[in-house]
C-alpha cells in the first residue's frame, strides 16, 4: 500500500481515538465513544496488516489467542474486580511495548541516537509498567505474601536501579546496533522490571488505585515511546492521550484524598501525631437492629445512602438497589452520595450502582449533596468509613486531615452498616460511629440490607 495512505489511515485512527474520548464526556454518548475508540484501533491494525508485506503466520496466532483470552476476561469479570483487571491489562500493554522495542532493535542494523534513546525509554517504561502492574494486581487480590515483602534501604535501591537504567541508556545512545547495544537494552528492561516491583510492593494496598492510574499513564507513555522508535504517529498520539488520562485521574484521586502524589508513593500513612484512642472514641456506641432501621425508614421523607468499599466487598449493590426501589415506591426521596474516592477506584461506586440499575440521576456527587445533608431524615452509611470520618474536618493531626468528606453526621439519624468497629483504609477511629445521632448495624452489608427489606415488607 502507498505509505502515504497508511499514514492517512493512522491519522484517521488517531482522530477516532480523540472523538472516542470526547464521547466519554457524557453518559449518553459514552457507548458510541468507546466503539469509536475500538474502530480507531481496528483501522490502525488492519492498515498495518495490509500496509506492508508481512509474514502472517505468527501474527494471526497471536491475534486469535489474544482475542479469546481478552474476550473471556471481559465477559467473566465481576464489576467489583475491575481494578484488578485494569491493572493486569495495563501490565500486558507495557510488556508489549518493551517486547516491540526489543524486537525492533534486533531487526535493524543501524540506529540514530534519538531512536536508541526512544528504544531505551520504551523498554524501561514498559517493563516498569509490567512488573508494577502485576504487583498491584496481586495486592488487590490480597495475596498475603506480597504484604510481607520488605525491601531493605528501599529508597537507595530504587535510586540505584534508576541510575543504572539511565547509565545504560546513555551507553545505548552512543551504541552502533551491535550485540552490546542489544544486551544493554535487555539489561535496562530487566532492571526496570525489578524497579517496578520495588516501587509498588511497599505501597499500601488501599493506595493501589492511585498506583494503577499512574501505571495506566505509564503504559501510554511506553506506547508513545515505541511510536518514536517506529516513527509512528498513531502510537504517539494514542499513547499521549492515555498518558494524559492516567495523570489526570491520578491527580483527581490525590486531590480528593488531600494528599500529594509523592506522599502516596513514598509516604508512610498512619504516622500521625493524633492521640485519639479507639477505645475512648467508641465508649458510647449504640447498636441497632434491622427492624429498628426499618421503622425509622418508614417515617422518613428523605433518605441518603453513602456507599463505600464495604458495599463492593459485600456485593450489596443489587440488594441496596432493591431497597431504593421499595422506598421510592413509598414516596421516599432516595439519593446516593458518592464520594470521589469511595471504593478502590475512581468512579467505582458509580459502576457498581449502574450495574444494579440505579439511575444515574440518583447518584449525587459530594459537592452537590453536602449542602443538603441536614435535610436528610436518615443517612445509611453502607460499608463506607474514611469518606464519612468527621476527623478529616476536626483533627488537623489526623492522617486524613483536610480530606473532603460526605457530611453524613449532619443528617438527623445516621445508620452505619459494617461488620465491626475495625477501621477503614486510613486505620484511624471514626467518631461518627459514637455520635449522638448514630446507630450501628453490625452485619455484612448485603445481609443487613436484605434484613431491612424483609422487615419493611413484613410491617
Amino acid at each position: 500500500m502507498d505509505p502515504r495512505l497508511v499514514q492517512l489511515a493512522y491519522l484517521v485512527s488517531a482522530v477516532l481515538f480523540i472523538l472516542g474520548l470526547k464521547g466519554l464526556t457524557r453518559p449518553r454518548s459514552a457507548v458510541r465513544g468507546n466503539l469509536l475508540g475500538a474502530c480507531g484501533l481496528l483501522v490502525a491494525v488492519v492498515v498495518t496488516l495490509f500496509g506492508a508485506g508481512l509474514d502472517y503466520r505468527l501474527i494471526v496466532g497471536g491475534l486469535v489467542v489474544g482475542t479469546v483470552i481478552g474476550a473471556v476476561f471481559a465477559i467473566r469479570v465481576q464489576m467489583t474486580e475491575m481494578p484488578q483487571m485494569v491493572a493486569l491489562f495495563n501490565g500486558f500493554g507495557g510488556a508489549a511495548s518493551t517486547l516491540v522495542a526489543g524486537a525492533n532493535l534486533v531487526q535493524t542494523d543501524s540506529f540514530g541516537a534519538d531512536t536508541l534513546v526512544a528504544t531505551a525509554l520504551s523498554g524501561m517504561i514498559g517493563a516498569v509498567t509490567f512488573s508494577g502492574s502485576l504487583i498491584a494486581w496481586g495486592k488487590l487480590k490480597e495475596f498475603r505474601q506480597l504484604e510481607e515483602i520488605r525491601i531493605p534501604a528501599q529508597q537507595i535501591v530504587n535510586a540505584l536501579l534508576v541510575l543504572s537504567c539511565v547509565g545504560l541508556t546513555v551507553f545505548m545512545a552512543n551504541g552502533d546496533g551491535s550485540t552490546m547495544t542489544v544486551v544493554a537494552y535487555w539489561g535496562i528492561s530487566a532492571l526496570a522490571l525489578l524497579l517496578g516491583v520495588t516501587l509498588v510492593v511497599s505501597i499500601g494496598g488501599a493506595d493501589m488505585p492511585v498506583v494503577i492510574a499512574l501505571l495506566n499513564s505509564y503504559s501510554g507513555l511506553a506506547a508513545a515511546a515505541t511510536g518514536f522508535v517506529l516513527s509512528n504517529t498513531v502510537l504517539i498520539i494514542s499513547g499521549s492521550l492515555v498518558g494524559a488520562s492516567g495523570l489526570i485521574l491520578t491527580r483527581i484521586m490525590c486531590v480528593a484524598m488531600n494528599r500529594s502524589l509523592p506522599n502516596v508513593l513514598f509516604g508512610t500513612m498512619g504516622s500521625s501525631g493524633s492521640t485519639l484512642n479507639a477505645d475512648d472514641v467508641y465508649a458510647n456506641v449504640k447498636s441497632t437492629s434491622a427492624e429498628e432501621v426499618a421503622m425509622l425508614l418508614e417515617v422518613a421523607n428523605r433518605v441518603v445512602i453513602v456507599p463505600g468499599y464495604g458495599m463492593a466487598v459485600a456485593q450489596a449493590q443489587h440488594t441496596v438497589s432493591d431497597l431504593r426501589k421499595i422506598l421510592v415506591a413509598r414516596q421516599v426521596e432516595v439519593d446516593f452520595a458518592i464520594h470521589p474516592v469511595a471504593g478502590r477506584m475512581p468512579g467505582h461506586m458509580n459502576v457498581l450502582l449502574a450495574e444494579a440499575n440505579v439511575p444515574y440521576e440518583a447518584l449525587r456527587e459530594m459537592d452537590e449533596i453536602n449542602p443538603t445533608m441536614e435535610q436528610a431524615d436518615v443517612t445509611i452509611v453502607l460499608g463506607a468509613n474514611d469518606v464519612v470520618n468527621p476527623l478529616a474536618r476536626t483533627d488537623p493531626q489526623s492522617a486524613i486531615a483536610g480530606m473532603p468528606i460526605i457530611d453524613a453526621d449532619k443528617s438527623r439519624t445516621v445508620i452505619v452498616i459494617k461488620r465491626s468497629l475495625s477501621p477503614g483504609f486510613a486505620k484511624i477511629p471514626n467518631p461518627l460511629f459514637a455520635a449522638e445521632n448514630t446507630l450501628m448495624l453490625f452485619e455484612d452489608g448485603r445481609k443487613a440490607i436484605q434484613d431491612i427489606i424483609n422487615a419493611l415488607n413484613e410491617s
Binding site: G66, G70, L99, A222, A354, P359
Partner: protein, 117 residues
Amino acid sequence: MNFLLATEPVAKLVETSTEAASTSADTVMLLLTVFVLAVFIGVEVITKIPPTLHTPLMSGSNAISGIALVGAVLAAGSGDSMLPKILGCVAVTLATINVVGGFMVTHRMLGMFRRKD
C-alpha cells in the same frame, strides 16, 4: 527548495540517506510536536469527563494503550530472524488481550449505564 531545509546543504541530505533511514532531525522534531499537541488534547478532553465515567475512562484508555499492537504486528511479521518474530508474537498476544478485553469490558460497563436512560 524550501526555506527550512535550505539551511542544510544537499550533501547533508545525501549523507542522511546513506545512513539508510536513520530518523532525520526534522522527523523527530515533528514527532515531538505531535506528542505535545496530543498531550494538550488529552488534557482538554479528559478534564471534561464526569466522575461517573471515571472507571470506564480508566478501562477504555487502558484499551487504547494496547495500540502497541500495531508495533507488535510489524515486529511479528517482518524480518528473517526468529527471535524478534517470536518476541513480536508474544507482544501481539499480550497487546490483543489488552485491546479486546479492554474495549469489551468497557462496553459491558457502559451498557449498564445506558440501560436506565
